[in-house]
């Protein structure tokens, strides 16, 4: 975050020195884009917040553990696809899950789907790419994530 702030401030200053009018035009253009996408992002965040508060961590744990077997993978893939967790929550959570007995391959599937597939963010993605491309991208990434999880699993047998 700090890095982004520094980059943005430096970029604005450099741009401002180079050309004042161009800089204002650029900033305005960026902020208009931001305002256009803001309602979609807010409602996505609201829906995620509601879903997350309905799904307690213990429930997730129960279905991802050793005894869950293959259903553990399926559940990890679905949970990862639907959830939208920032890294600073997802990695501590994964670390915690590993300590409580969830295997690395299951974690790998969870992490890869979490990062690559965004069911909850589809409304935002569709605004940029349209329905078809967004659905195909997410489907391809879903299977790609499963494949990555599978390969990682081979190294933890």
């Amino acid at each position: 975050m700090e890095i982004l702030t520094i980059i943005a401030v430096v970029a604005i200053i450099v741009s401002f020195i180079a050309n004042r009018n161009k800089t204002w035009a650029g900033i305005k253009k960026g902020l208009v884009m931001f305002l256009k996408i803001l309602p979609a992002i807010l409602s996505v965040l609201i829906l995620i917040s509601i879903v997350l508060s309905l799904l307690p961590n213990e429930l997730i744990l129960k279905h991802l553990g050793e005894e869950a077997g293959i259903t553990g993978f399926v559940f990890a893939a679905i949970a990862g696809s639907v959830a939208l967790l920032p890294g600073f929550i997802a990695y501590p959570l994964s670390g915690m899950l590993v300590k409580t007995g969830v295997s690395y391959p299951v974690i790998a599937v969870f992490i890869t789907t979490l990062m690559m597939v965004g069911v909850m963010t589809l409304p935002i993605e569709i605004k940029f790419f349209g329905m078809r491309i967004s659905l195909i991208r997410n489907t391809l990434y879903f299977f790609g994530a499963l494949l990555i999880g599978f390969f990682i699993g081979l190294f933890y047998l």
Partner: protein, 177 residues
């Protein structure tokens, strides 16, 4: 402004309903309602509201300053393997969540990046950003991070090539939201 409201009427209903629900929860002391706001919504919102406006300002500036010919030459249709490597390095240096990558792809597309490189950018963005990798190593260890990066790279490149094949002769477009 009118256009924004027209395109987002459903989102505005969701936002208004949630605002009313949250206000009522705090007023009546309904703790599940309070938790949804403070534990979940607010923590996401805080991250987003700091990060996204800066991101979009950078994109606006990029749109004005970046030269289309240069982008097209380096990561455009005929950029080949070097283009792939360049896009991967570009995305590794990024920060933020997946929905922050889409506006960047809009800029890349507008400036002439190839379909393949746009999807490789998204893939690399969501899986191997450097700030995230350091975090991953901390919690899940070197072995896990290394294996994941190693298997992820070929798969996102293959998917990028696949997406380009799928849309080669069709109208592909990254829209301005």
């Amino acid at each position: 402004m009118k256009e924004i409201v027209k395109k987002n009427w459903l989102n505005f209903i969701i936002i208004a309903a949630f605002a009313a629900f949250t206000a009522l929860s705090f007023y009546l002391g309904f703790s599940p309602g309070e938790n949804i706001f403070t534990d979940h919504f607010y923590s996401f919102f805080k991250e987003m509201i700091l990060f996204l406006p800066l991101m979009f300002i950078l994109i606006g500036l990029g749109d004005i300053w970046i030269n289309r010919d240069k982008v097209e030459k380096h990561i455009g249709k005929d950029s080949g393997f070097k283009g792939i490597v360049l896009v991967i390095f570009l995305s590794m240096a990024q920060v933020g969540p997946l929905y922050g990558a889409f506006p960047v792809t809009y800029l890349l597309w507008k400036k002439g990046a190839s379909i393949r490189n746009i999807f490789i950018y998204i893939g690399a963005f969501c899986t191997i950003k450097i700030p995230m990798i350091t975090f991953e190593i901390g919690f899940l260890g070197w072995k896990f991070s290394l294996l994941r990066t190693l298997f992820t790279l070929p798969i996102i490149i293959i998917i990028g090539i696949l997406m380009e094949k799928l849309w080669k002769n069709k109208s592909f477009e990254v829209k301005q939201p």
